[in-house]
Amino acid sequence: MTRTPRLTSDTAACCWIPLFALRCETARRPELAALPLALLAPDDTRRLWQVAPLARRAGVKPGMTVSQAIGLCPALKLCEPDPVHYDEQFARLVAALVTVSPVVEPVELGRVFVGTDGLEGLYGGAEEIVEAIKRGTRNAECGTEMESSLDCSAFPLPRSAFRVGWGRGKFVSWVAATRAKPGEAVIVPVGGEAKFLASQRLAVLPLDPDTHRRLLQLGVKTLGALVALPEEAVVSQFGRAGRRLWRLAAGLVSEPVVGRVVPEPIVAALTFFTPVGDRDLLAHALDKLVDRALGDPRRSGWRVQVVRVHAELEHGASWLVAATLKDPAATRERIAAPLKTQLERSPPAGAVERLVVEFTAFAPGTAELQLFARDAGAAARAGRRRALQSAAREIALRIRRPMLYHVIEVQPWSRLPERRYALIDFEP
């Protein structure tokens, strides 16, 4: 029985890109950067999800209804969310970080912990490790370790958006990242956690609103003030959650970063009863083998980047083709397509006795089975959205002007019918 190695790290670097989804949109359409922009919530298009600083200045806040927001900021530019795109961009960021450390733990869009135990030998101290992380994300696409230009980045976001915090445990590194200026890093030396945390505001703790309000009413505004209270008194007021909060605030809790093990190559093979030379039959067998390999539980949460097919031919000869997918995929069609093209272009020189499909490299997360929504419902929604986007692009190509709209509620209670609903351009 093989034992799954456990990838953990006590020291952590938290890489944080606030408003990740919104920044993905402005990176994709730079003309939006100068506008008061807001993203609609993926699960409720009546409400706002992320709001750009320009719109915030006009009083627009996340969670507001569209009508409230338009009332406050008539020039507000609303954007349909594209969760699949954000997920793909985030997967690229995670993949870039994996080149720096094998211990990488994505938490939410735009926030990922990197385990840094043992990296000292490679890079040096904490400052050098943080630099290596920044360099890794910048250079992932260039394939170089040299200092590169701004536009040469693992993901098309401005480098100034990236904040890094380093410390012992995930909580300390996260708080440090929230304190970092855009494009910079805050490093909390080991042993200095309590001193660093003491001055931080209460809001950095994972508090529910009621506990937050009660603590403020007690005059507790910083973690230092919380730690100044006896631990048992906090426990008697807030129970087990109170103990955890007190210990977090005191820097006594150090939750390690837990990485995921990249799957070993996944292999699916088929031995034919009689050697097969018919290409249609081989293509069909290829589909079945890709399906079988995709169904391997080790593949869950990973997209396939490199796939190889090899065949044992009659009379001892062999045949081999490989494909590297530019966009890692987790669907049979997208994985099998380049293989079938190669099968047509350079078919095996003889009849095939045994056909083997092998997934040899993977990328984290999948568009079809998203990093942060691994349930079947979310996967189905992502699939439908992708199909819709593809159809919308086709229509736009044919008629050359936007003709697809999304209906959103503006003032459904209004006595004026024309104010109840509005159309927003559907831009895939």
Binding site: I70, V407, E418
Partner: protein
Amino acid sequence: MRNGTDRLRALNAPQRVRVELDEQRRPRVVKREAGNEKRVESFGENWRMDDEWWRQPIVRRYVEVVLEGGGRVVLFEDLMTGEWFAQMPA
């Protein structure tokens, strides 16, 4: 209703129409901008709406009608300007 960036457009925006009224000041014939003209065959509910008196008052007299051919439409007269508009029924 459109916002400053021309992104939001109102659904069911009123379409300006010309109407001929009968002696009870009810629409008898409805002429759309495009030129086609339809007689009113029957009347449904009618109501009046006063809104937003605190800024730009909106005063409308609505009447629900069935046009020849069976189309159901809501007409309203903007009592501030005297213009008539058609809208789809809610």
